[in-house]
Symmetry: C2
Subunit: 322 residues, 2 copies
Amino acid sequence: MAVYTEVNTEQLEAFLADYTVGSATSLKGLIEGVENTNYFLSTEAGDYILTLYEQRVNPDDLPFFMDLLEHLGAKDYPCPPPIKNQRGEGLATLAGRPAALFPFLRGVSTTAPSTRHCRQVGAHLAKMHLACADFRKPWRKNSMGMASWHDLFASCRDAAEGIAVGLEDDIQQVLEAVATEWPEDLPRGICHADLFPDNILFTGTEITGVIDFYFACEELLIYDLAVTLNAWSISPYGSFYYSNSRALLQGYQEHRPISAAERDVFLLMLRACSLRFLLTRIYDWVNTPKDAVVKRKDPMEYVRSLRLHLKQESPTFYGFDE
Amino acid sequence: MAVYTEVNTEQLEAFLADYTVGSATSLKGLIEGVENTNYFLSTEAGDYILTLYEQRVNPDDLPFFMDLLEHLGAKDYPCPPPIKNQRGEGLATLAGRPAALFPFLRGVSTTAPSTRHCRQVGAHLAKMHLACADFRKPWRKNSMGMASWHDLFASCRDAAEGIAVGLEDDIQQVLEAVATEWPEDLPRGICHADLFPDNILFTGTEITGVIDFYFACEELLIYDLAVTLNAWSISPYGSFYYSNSRALLQGYQEHRPISAAERDVFLLMLRACSLRFLLTRIYDWVNTPKDAVVKRKDPMEYVRSLRLHLKQESPTFYGFDE
């Protein structure tokens, strides 16, 4: 977890008094949640996740996230919206922070994705893309999108060579390709933008929950597919799992076929998303105080995936049909 | 939490295969547990706490702790023993660490103890003392007992004056009193030795769980009462709550009356236990790397309680009858 806000008995009682879920029977702080403080909360009425939004989430974005969950939940997408309090609000205040109460979803994240997991993940990503087409506007802009990468790199450029020899050149090469080749006319929509294994719950290989929509934004749909493929078919050590990648692409295309134009930019998208996560990892590595509670994540993972994508010449490598 | 061991899907499945609780339907890492890694685990059979024992717990002590929970659980004390696996063992191995599976206890720790809470806490402490009288021997020695304080102080003495002016003298004074006045002939038994509000679960003001017995050991029973009174009736800012203290003493004495000889040493016990927690806090403050995941706790809390106890001349201050 990033920031951990302790909630005391009186604060919790006052918060729950606005809901119709009864009194707390259990409250346990959870480690998960990079941007927020999360509790497992049981009450007389059931089990919940209680989320307190910390500094890294812009409070102005919260209505977008809540409305998005509401929209998807109404279409039976497995991401239930917040429980409403007696004033009809999904978003309330607890311990001085914006807070929301969600139904507790059963399911376990996988740490060993199989092709069956990946096929489901691809399918759920496509379903989300389609289900959001009629989501109310305005849509949240991608605060971590290509427009931010140049400045992000400038702010941590000095650290790059210390992480891997030649990394500065690799980054520069992708930044230039992004600047000149980024497509303007491909399908855009609401993207999850962070669909890592941590954020999908399974029972067996069936998806029971998709969580952590706090990077969701308007973006190229093919970019979201690249982020997801990167997260599910490349190991932290840079090994590529072809069968996972292919299964994910197949699962996706069963619901939303990828056009030739999208396929043509797929390599650029993969390089771009490796760059995006690499840059934030370098930035966090350099800027996170060593005594912070946040555990800094190793940037090397994305050096490896970036270099894997730089070596390829065709999207068929990832399991597209010839 | 102190150390956080990630458990992957295969490890969890292999671990659970030895039990008869079915497959995992949920696994969430918990923040709580200073010495261990704790997960909230749901399976097809129910909800559990899955504990992995980390470096700070001596593996040789684990059978003592497990047997103690078994002993108390058999007497309906609210601290259920570990679930046994199919080999009849409460202690198993997970992710290379000793691990145990406990029934999940409903209940919430209080952050605002009232006299009703404190009366229950006193009663449960006395019941534990009595229930352990026939616990199998040998009993675990108090690794944090008076014999350890001299060396602990020597190792962090230089830091004391930086924390509070005159603290070195205060500590020296209590160390000398402990060395010369520590009673040898008062009732000893199994003490929890860490009965802080974090370690008691309530539903309303009824105790539903007593947890974290990982400091339990043989010690003077009156010392355990002092530790508990300190934890429940003095705020981190040094305010003393007389009515809480009195309720705790009354609750305790309903089950185990305190003798005149125990009462006579109560002030020494209070000073000693403030010293014990103060010394470990100073030690941790000095020795915890600043980039550790452990959040260092402020030693000042125990400087304040130590000085409160040094000022008193009679145990009646704490709510004993005249």
